[in-house]
């Protein structure tokens, strides 16, 4: 076990992946000498050189598009998009090319490309630096989407995503980059060195986890809102309410089975994410929970997300984003039934 921040865990995870497989290379803006604006690639340029840690021209479509070409020759590019709000110029390459090439080629071409996206808010940033666009990608078949909430998951999941033959959007909750925890480095190394390592990794990446057990309400979160959900559970516990927290980890596939299992026990579900509530991940999850656990529900599934406005000035982000009060309010509401 080694103590790591989440940023450090991703850094070490990438280093391990690069050592394991010479085909792994990093691409992005300012990821070389600078180590990325969040320093997540710190030290890698020095140790692996500019051919494996590539500072690219300032063009996101170009980055994803050329990564696709490199992946066609067996490389495993790991892209850093500098901030969530700058992924949109690459939207076409991700949606019409990266997502569909395996299908288009009837399985002949694999594109093991990982797109790392530091996402979500709470860092006091200017416009476009606090977006949560994960649902936009989840609606496109062919992509896998995950988001770690802890240093351990960050360390494991980045390596599993790199090892998987499918393309990944890897959403990193940037406000959690400096959270520190003990990380076990051995388990994922063992998994990936196994005979069916990539398959096992992909399967594991597809599953959520129960982060805290409880029996009154199922509180679902992922990435940046998991910590908030745990805080809510603490506060609720002090009020005599037992909250089960599910950390989804994966948005595509969406592990609704774990949530449905929990919902069947608690009968009450609240989903929390930073993205605007409308048309977000919570909508899909709510719809599925209803489909699969309707007769177990005591109350409608509630969602707490960002409001239906553009991300406001950072002075307002605490109120704009789900916060303790708003989530507790939703818990109150599902408990009234």
């Amino acid at each position: 076990m080694t103590a790591m921040t989440m940023a450090g865990a991703i850094n070490r995870g990438m280093r391990a992946a690069m050592e394991r497989d010479p085909k792994v290379l990093l691409m992005g803006e300012d990821i070389g000498q600078l180590g990325g604006v969040f320093r997540v690639t710190d030290g890698l340029w020095k140790d692996f050189g500019p051919d494996r840690v590539m500072d690219t021209p300032l063009a996101e479509s170009g980055i994803v598009g050329t990564a696709i070409g490199m992946a066609m020759r067996g490389y495993r590019p790991v892209i850093e998009i500098q901030f969530d709000g700058f992924i949109f110029p690459a939207f076409d390459q991700i949606t019409t090319q990266l997502a569909k090439m395996h299908y288009r080629s009837r399985g002949l071409i694999n594109l093991p490309v990982v797109i790392r996206v530091p996402f979500a808010g709470h860092i006091g940033a200017v416009e476009h630096h606090s977006e949560s666009p994960e649902a936009l990608f989840a609606h496109t078949p062919g992509l896998r989407i995950v988001s770690p909430a802890t240093p351990q998951d960050a360390y494991d999941m980045i390596q599993q995503a790199i090892a998987s033959p499918d393309p990944y959007l890897f959403f990193e909750p940037k406000a959690r980059y400096w959270d520190k925890a003990e990380v076990d480095e051995a388990r994922v190394a063992t998994q990936l060195s196994g005979e069916h390592g990539a398959s096992a990794a992909t399967a594991e990446l597809s599953r959520g986890r129960v982060a805290r057990e409880g029996k009154d309400v199922t509180l679902v979160a992922y990435g940046p809102t998991v910590r908030l959900a745990m805080q809510v559970a603490d506060v609720a516990a002090s009020e005599g309410r037992s909250i089960e927290v599910v950390d989804l980890r994966s948005i595509s596939p969406l592990d609704s089975a774990t949530v449905v299992r929990s919902a069947k026990r608690t009968g009450r579900v609240v989903i929390v994410h930073e993205a605007p509530t409308a048309f977000g991940t919570g909508a899909e999850l709510a719809a599925r929970v209803m489909e699969q656990a309707f007769f177990h529900l005591h109350a409608p599934v509630l969602r707490v997300g960002g409001f239906s406005t553009p991300y406001p000035g950072s002075k307002f982000e605490h109120d704009y984003l789900p916060n303790l009060d708003r989530v507790l309010d939703a818990v109150d509401r599902v408990m009234t039934h």
Partner: protein, 375 residues
Amino acid sequence: MDTQGPLSEQGLVRMLTHTGERIEDERFAPYAADLDAATLRAMWHDMTVLRGFDLEATSLQRQGELGLWVPSLGQEAAQIGSGYALRTSDFVFPSYREHGVALTRGVDLPEILRIFRGLQHGAWDPAAHGFHLYTLVIGSHALHATGYAMAMDRDGLVGTGAETDGAVVCYFGDGATSQGDVNEALVFAAVNDAPIVFFVQNNQFAISEPTTRQSRVPLAQRGAGFGVPSVRFDGNDVLASYAVTRWALEQARSGTGPVLLEAFTYRMGAHTTSDDATRYRTRADEEYWAERDPIARVEAYLRGIGELSDEAIEEAHAEAKALGRRTREAVKSWSPPPTSTIFDHVYAEPHTAVESERAWFARFERSFTDKGAHA
């Protein structure tokens, strides 16, 4: 007539006049030096067979056997000439009209029609042919091609002087030059010295829009803006196409970076079988270009030097006819595989959304065989 814009003949490399006379081009002659009569005849032959295939596909579309067809009519010299300049170690990224290049890469032409019959999106093994799948989103493959070329460089397949040295050729149209992706590809290729030849087939139209809607200057000039050497040539001259492309490939394979070529040609047919070109261009224009037919030109030259016999011509037409027959039979014989195959290859590893829908669909289908259809 456009005298310096993108439809002008400014700076065109040409080796064969439109009536089939040979002209000298000092710079590129060495790259055509190995073209003996037999090879030229083979090129002419492929162009002829390609055109036959093209017409057959059009007629299959008219008869409802295909949803759409995208003819390469008029662009045979640009495609076959450049295709002949390739070697096994090279890799091609076509757009969606490069059936001629497909032919030179060993793709069995009828197979292309699987796409246009609505059976599947890709119809050959790119690795087996050194020929990527067609890409329909204009310009987006230019970036894949650039990344692929960067990877070839990384793999030691550039600048060694060995036969394994290779380069990428990326084909796209005049319209595509306006897309951000194509320009970003020039940026990435230039700063990485990627071994790639950007091959613009300027067929003068992007569907109905003339090239003047995309540029105020000849498209070959685009390269200069990115520090990429460029050449403009007569795309209806198979000799020039071969020689200039060979030169460009040698540059790219040697490790000096990208090259941009503009083949100035003419789309003799409509954009696709869904298009009606009479809405936006004149008969006179079409006739002018019919006189510049790329096949007629090399045919006249070969006949002129006594290297094309009536028998050879007859043979080629017979072959085209046979291919047409085979194509028609093949197309009609293809019946769609079971619907359940639509769930295959969404991902390389199982994905619960796909698997649960696949399972649901199987149950749903069984429910009909079990108790008869609903409506």
